[in-house]
C-alpha cells in the first residue's frame, strides 16, 4: 500500500500515554489469528479501542511509542488508523512503519495540543500538525530524502522489488 506524503491527513484522535509496547499494539501471541487480533489491539491500555476505532482515526501517543519487540503495527492500519503521531517513537517501530509505508510522525509537544476525541490535521509538506479547534500547532520532524523515497514507493519490499527487477532485466 503506497502512501503519499504530500497528502494532508485529518482525523479524530485516540490518545495514549508513554512507552506503549508492541505487545499491546500487536498481541499476536495471545491472538494468533489476524481477525481475532483486530479485536484486541491496544486493549491493554484502552479496552474500548478495538470496538470503537473508526476508519480515518489518528493515533496520538507520548514518548517511546512502540517500544519492545520488532513486531509490526500493521494491525493498526487494518482497524482504520490512518496515521500515528507521537512525541517520540521507538527505533524498531519507526523502522517497521517506514518499511511498510504506514504514516508515522514525530512531533515533540503533540500531546500538549490535542485532547482525546478532538480532530488533528497533519500537513507533512508544511512540516506542521495543527488542532483546528484550538488553532494550536507544533512542528513535525521531516524524514531524510531516502526515507521519503521509501514512503513514496509504498514501502521497502516494493522498493526492493523494483530494484531487483531493474538489476535482473536483461534483453
Amino acid at each position: 500500500m503506497s502512501f503519499d506524503l504530500n497528502r494532508v491527513i485529518r482525523g479524530r484522535v485516540w490518545k495514549f500515554g508513554d512507552s506503549i509496547e508492541t505487545d499491546a499494539i500487536n498481541p499476536y501471541y495471545r491472538y494468533p489469528d489476524a481477525e481475532e487480533l483486530k479485536k484486541h489491539t491496544m486493549e491493554a491500555y484502552r479496552p474500548e479501542f478495538p470496538g470503537e476505532v473508526k476508519p480515518g482515526d489518528i493515533l496520538v501517543a507520548g514518548r517511546n511509542f512502540g517500544c519492545g519487540s520488532s513486531r509490526p503495527g500493521l494491525v493498526l492500519r487494518e482497524v482504520g488508523i490512518v496515521a500515528i503521531i507521537a512525541e517520540s517513537v521507538s527505533r524498531l517501530f519507526l523502522r517497521n512503519n517506514i518499511a511498510r509505508a504506514m504514516p508515522i510522525f514525530m512531533a515533540p509537544g503533540i500531546t500538549g495540543i490535542v485532547r482525546d476525541g478532538e480532530t488533528l490535521e497533519i500537513d507533512y509538506p508544511q512540516g506542521i500538525v495543527c488542532n483546528p479547534a484550538t488553532g494550536t500547532s507544533v512542528a513535525l520532524r521531516k524524514f531524510p530524502p531516502l526515507i521519503e523515497q521509501v514512503f513514496q514507493c509504498g514501502g521497502l519490499p516494493e522498493f526492493a522489488r523494483q530494484r531487483y527487477l531493474a538489476e535482473t532485466r536483461r534483453f
Binding site: 512507552s19 517511546n64 517500544c67 521509501v150 516494493e158
Partner: protein, 426 residues
C-alpha cells in the same frame, strides 16, 4: 574529530566508501543476517506479495545468512509446525547452509555458541534482541521483517548513523552476577528510552571484570532502553571466547579518544542496591527492599537476557541445601542446548531439581505467553527480558523483573526479598 564505535562501524560498511558521522543516512554492507522463526515472512509471504510466486528469488550470499528456528522449538502448535515447514523448504531452495531447525534454543545464544558473530561486524536480525552481540564488540541490531526482505536480496540496508552515549561502569564485580541490576538501575535513573536511537558504548573499570554472559545481558537489554547498538570493547575475554568457536579473522571497533558523545553516564556498582522493575514497564524500577514481602506464585530464570551459565549457576549455588517455597513454580530455561549441557555437566540441573525447581526446554517460551502462563491476580518475578502487561498471559497478572539472584531468593522465600536476607553467605 574522532569517531565513536558506531561511526567506525558504519564508515567501514558504508557502500559510498566515505566516513560517516552521527546523523548521516548511509546504505551499509551487511556481514551477517540472522533469521529466526519469522524467516517465513521475508523468504516467502512477503516475496509472494511482491509478485515472486515461488518465494524469494535469490539470496545475496547463502554463507552469510543464518537461520535458527527458535522460539517455538519443538513446534508448539500445528500452525507453527506448518510455518517451520515453509522455512525448511525456502532454506533448501535458496541454498542457505547454516540452518538449525532441530535444536531448541534462543537464536541469539546459538549465534554465539556456533561462532557466527565477530568483533567489528555489522550483523542484523529480525528480532529486537539481536543487539546483544554487541557484547562481542559487534555492531548488531534488530531490524524488521520487511527490512530483512531487502537484506536477503541485496546484503545491504539503510541506517541512520546513531549518536553515541558512553556508559562508564566502575566498582567491583561481586561473586554473583549483577548485570541485570545494572541495566534496570540505569533504566530507573535515566528512563526506559535514555538511549533512544543511540549507540551505547560500555566502558570503565568494571568492564574487564564482566564475563561474556554479563556483557550479553547488558547488550541484549540495550533495546529495552531504546538503543540501536550496545557495544563493549573487545578484550582478552572476547578473544578467549572467540578462540573456542570461530577461526575467521576480525577487526575490532576501537573508538577514537576524541570521539564525540551525546552524553556520558557513570555508575559505581558498589553503591548500587538490588533492584527490580515493577509491573508493567522496564523503567518502573525500585530497590528490592521497597517491594519486599510481595508474595509470588512464579519465579523464572531464562531468555536471551538471563538464560546463560552464570544466571543458572548462581541459582543452583544458592539453592544447594535449600528448597523452593511450597506452591511457588520456579521455572528455569537455559538459553540453548549448549548452555543446558554445560549446566548439566557442572551438576547444576541436579541441584535445581532437588531443590524443587523445574527445568524446561531451551527457548523463548519462558519470556512469552508460551511456557508458564499466569492467571488473573498471580505474581511472577522473572529474570527474562520484559514485564509488559499480558506478557505471560493474563492482563491482570503482575510481572516483576529482577536479576537471577533476586529471583532465586524470592523462589526460596515465596515472596520478593533482599537476597542478603535469605542467602546469609553472600
Amino acid at each position: 574529530m574522532g569517531q565513536t564505535m558506531a561511526e567506525k562501524l558504519l564508515s567501514r560498511h558504508n557502500l559510498a566508501n566515505a566516513p560517516a558521522k552521527a546523523g548521516d543516512v548511509v546504505e551499509a554492507r551487511i556481514d551477517g543476517a540472522m533469521c529466526h522463526y519469522h524467516a517465513s515472512e521475508p523468504m516467502h509471504q512477503l516475496a509472494v506479495q511482491m509478485g515472486f510466486k515461488d518465494g524469494l528469488p535469490r539470496v545475496w550470499d547463502p554463507d552469510r545468512i543464518f537461520v535458527l528456528v527458535d522460539h517455538h522449538q519443538p513446534a508448539l502448535s500445528q500452525a507453527l509446525a506448518d510455518e517451520n515447514a515453509v522455512i525448511r523448504k525456502a532454506v533448501a531452495r535458496l541454498g542457505i547452509k547454516c540452518f538449525h531447525d532441530a535444536e531448541p534454543g534462543i537464536a541469539h545464544q546459538m549465534m554465539l555458541d556456533y561462532g557466527l558473530v565477530r568483533p567489528g561486524e555489522l550483523v542484523v536480525g529480525n528480532d529486537s534482541h539481536t543487539i546483544g552481540y554487541g557484547a562481542l564488540n559487534a555492531g548488531s541490531t534488530g531490524i524488521t521483517r520487511a527490512d530483512m526482505f531487502y537484506v536477503l536480496l541485496f546484503g545491504e540496508l539503510w541506517f541512520q548513523v546513531p549518536k553515541s552515549i558512553k556508559v562508564i561502569l566502575s566498582g567491583r564485580q561481586p561473586d554473583y552476577p549483577i548485570a541485570k541490576d545494572i541495566i534496570l538501575y540505569l533504566a530507573g535513573q535515566y528512563g526506559d528510552d535514555f538511549a533512544q536511537n543511540m549507540s551505547i558504548e560500555y566502558s570503565g573499570s568494571l568492564v574487564p571484570q564482566l564475563g561474556i554472559d554479563s556483557r550479553m545481558c547488558l547488550s541484549t537489554h540495550g533495546v529495552e532502553v531504546g538503543a540501536k547498538f550496545a557495544m563493549f570493547p573487545g578484550d582478552e575475554k572476547t578473544r578467549a571466547f572467540l578462540e573456542r568457536c570461530s577461526e575467521k579473522p576480525y577487526e575490532p571497533l576501537i573508538p577514537d579518544p576524541d570521539a564525540e558523545y551525546e552524553k556520558e553516564i557513570a555508575l559505581n556498582v558498589d553503591d548500587m542496591p538490588f533492584v527490580v522493575a515493577k509491573p508493567h514497564q522496564f523503567g518502573n524500577v525500585a530497590p528490592v527492599d521497597e517491594v519486599a514481602g510481595t508474595r509470588i506464585n512464579q519465579a523464572q530464570i531464562g531468555s536471551c537476557a538471563n538464560g546463560r551459565f552464570e544466571d543458572i549457576e548462581i541459582a543452583a549455588r544458592m539453592l544447594r541445601g535449600r528448597k523452593v517455597a511450597k506452591g511457588v513454580r520456579f521455572i528455569i530455561s537455559p538459553a540453548s542446548q549448549q548452555v543446558y549441557l554445560q549446566c548439566l555437566k557442572a551438576g547444576l540441573i541436579e541441584t535445581l531439581i532437588e531443590a524443587g525447581a523445574q527445568v524446561v526446554t531451551p527457548g523463548c517460551g519462558v519470556c512469552q505467553p508460551r511456557v508458564g502462563f499466569l492467571s488473573d491476580g498471580e505474581v511472577c518475578i522473572t529474570a527474562t527480558t520484559r514485564n509488559f502487561k499480558g506478557r505471560k498471559g493474563s492482563l491482570n497478572a503482575e510481572i516483576y523483573l529482577g536479576g537471577p539472584l533476586t529471583v532465586a531468593a524470592a523462589a526460596v522465600a515465596g515472596a520478593i526479598v533482599n537476597p542478603r536476607e535469605v542467602f546469609h553467605e553472600l
